[in-house]
Amino acid sequence: MSQTMTGAEIVLKALKDQGVEVIFGYPGGAVLPIYDEIFKQNAIQHVLVRHEQGAAHAAEGYARSTGKPGVLLVTSGPGATNAVTGLQDALMDSIPIICISGQVGSFLIGTDAFQEADTVGITRPCTKHNWLVKDANDLAKAMHQAFQVATTGRPGPVLVDIPKNVQMSPGVYVPARESRRKSYNPQTRGDLSDIKKAVELIERAERPIFYTGGGVINSGPNATRLLREFARATGFPVTSTLMGLGAYPASDKQWLGMLGMHGSYEANLAMHGCDVMINIGARFDDRITGRLDAFSPGSKKIHIDIDPSSINKTVRADVGIVGDCAVALEDMLRIWKSGGSKSQKNAVKDWWRQIESWRAVDCFRYAPSETTIKPQYALQRLQAAIEKKDFYITTEVGQHQMWAAQFLKFEEPNRWMTSGGLGTMGYGVPAAVGVQMAHPKSLVIDVAGEASFLMTMQEMSTAVQYRLPIKIFILNNERLGMVRQWQQLLHGERYSSSYSEALPDFVKLAEAFGCKGVRAEKPEELDGAIAEMLAYDGPVIFDCLVERHENCFPMIPSGKAHNEMLLGEADTEGAIDAAGAMLV
């Protein structure tokens, strides 16, 4: 049954039919008809952000923490261009978000009209797909296809650009089932003969490792359950990328911690020395592999990825399986069980002995201090205070992000929201807004650096308006810490522009926003201050003044292999050569 309604009504109906409950947005001239429809209904809640980049990250936070798509609504021109960073962020991290943008009237397109920008042109490389809808009769189809494309296959951002006159024109509404796109059919089931080959390799493996990524989390709770079951059935060690934290419980004895540039010593050496690598939903990112021609030189590589272009992109897979992680894991487990497969018990036991010796190095150790708060110590105390709570963590980008990944423990997926691929400073505050909207009763903490926080701190105002009790835990070193670390190691300690000479008083800033401000300067103040933050029923900015020159270790220097990890300051002398400096 087709119905005729205005374009703006079509947008709202499509959102409702897709099960959308919350959208993040900012009004402007070219989306007023849609905002008028939002005003007339109650089913969908609109959250007014303070900048369109915030809308995109909030939608990402909502999506990552729920597994459902996030939606944002922005106006033409600057509204759309401000959202671009969030779209690219979602593209890199495979997060399903739908951006609806207003556009100048279709009769004005191409005339340099007020707030006109070639939005589909600008966003073409930073979305999975985008649409410029010039006829209200095509709008419902585009809206439903947008959800289909964003949420299926490798998830990602999409954008629907709607000229203002189309929002006001009558058009026919078609439901989702009549809107599917013939040319778009991502493969979800991996080839069975490849899966059998993978199982054979796994059976023969003597030094195996599971290397898991964000794909396991994107695939949904089934993938997490099956990964845990398969890991238990084989007894193999498990490591994960930054994006995949939580898919495997951090408290489990088979867990090696995160791998990569600032990952654990045991995880990276196990990757380097393994004979069979089982990559599930990770993409051999350059922060993971380090020097490509020295990456895990002796291993057979199994690579499961829903995106065919991820396989054999930088690292050649011996067995490449194009498919959804959950489906592939289910097939693998079935074949494993039905064939009565067993792992090489003795060899794997030796392998574990080797791994335990690496683990004994205790790579995350740091020099404690009684006078200044070490950032690692602050996170350990935070972890101790929240570990029994129902918590979600977002982060900004930099040293604090790596320390959070090292020191906070995730037992479940969808609890850890961080900008991995794009490395977007300013991600964490708006992402926390999105997470808290989805989980109003849970504890949501943005582990931040003071520099990142300043990039999107205006969203504190959003948090206050919607009574979102997000906690911003700033590890304040008054430096762009990761930049400073690289300048120390690579650029002769010339700290070019990595010191913020002027910083606001974050406690007063919190109060100005209508939040609570808490400060901790000494280690002994920390526990009390954290308790104060957690006890407050409202948004808090926590200014934790930490050691200013702490470096993040362990670290694989750029241009080096996994077995050339630096464990601490003593290892850093001349560790990075000029070729490595280019790869930073």
């Binding site: 073409r124 797909h129 494309v149 490509l292 021609d293 590589k301 065919p308």
Partner: protein, 173 residues
């Protein structure tokens, strides 16, 4: 060899891509190549099914085997793309290109240009007392050769369509 870093052989491949003929589709294809630094040697496009609004794009590209594999996977991911076939590996194929070549000369040179055009089985599409426009079809190598021969004989302009390619035999793409 599990890792790509040593220089690999560069191959030339021709791909046929069936797409929905909609606004922006060509920009998506070209953006993929320019954004990732891949080469386009030639690209041709025209609607081939007016009822279904399907266009066929023929792309000639060069790259290492790993890059060629990437290009095929990335093209297949583009939403309005229905099908991608690597004509070069799919089996024997026919590759043809059309060129219009303008030559301006008189006397012996003019006679020689005309003679060579006949030898290449070109057609004369336009003539004045001092010029010809030849139409030539063939594989790109033949057209290259003809253009080189025309250079000393008063070559003025060349317009080439780029390669259109199709598999030999009864099967569709």
């Amino acid at each position: 060899m599990s890792v790509m870093q040593k220089p690999e052989t560069i191959e030339r491949h021709t791909m046929a891509v069936l797409v929905d003929n909609e606004s922006g589709v060509l920009a998506r294809i070209i953006g993929l190549f320019s954004g990732r630094g891949y080469n386009i040697e030639s690209l041709t496009v025209a609607e081939v099914d007016h009822n279904e609004h399907l266009s066929r794009i023929t792309i000639v590209t060069t790259g290492s085997p790993m890059v060629i594999e990437q290009i095929k996977a990335l093209l297949s991911k583009i939403v309005p793309v229905h099908k991608v076939v690597d004509i070069t590996v799919a089996g024997p194929s026919v590759e043809r290109e059309l060129a219009l070549i303008k030559v301006r000369s008189t006397g012996e040179k003019r006679v020689e240009a005309l003679r060579l055009n006949e030898a290449f089985r070109g057609r004369i599409m336009d003539t004045t007392l001092e010029s010809f426009v030849f139409e030539l079809t063939g594989d790109p190598g033949k057209i290259d050769a003809f253009v080189e021969l025309m250079r000393p004989l008063g070559l003025v302009d060349v317009a080439r369509t780029g390669v259109a390619a199709i598999a030999r035999g009864p099967e569709g793409m």
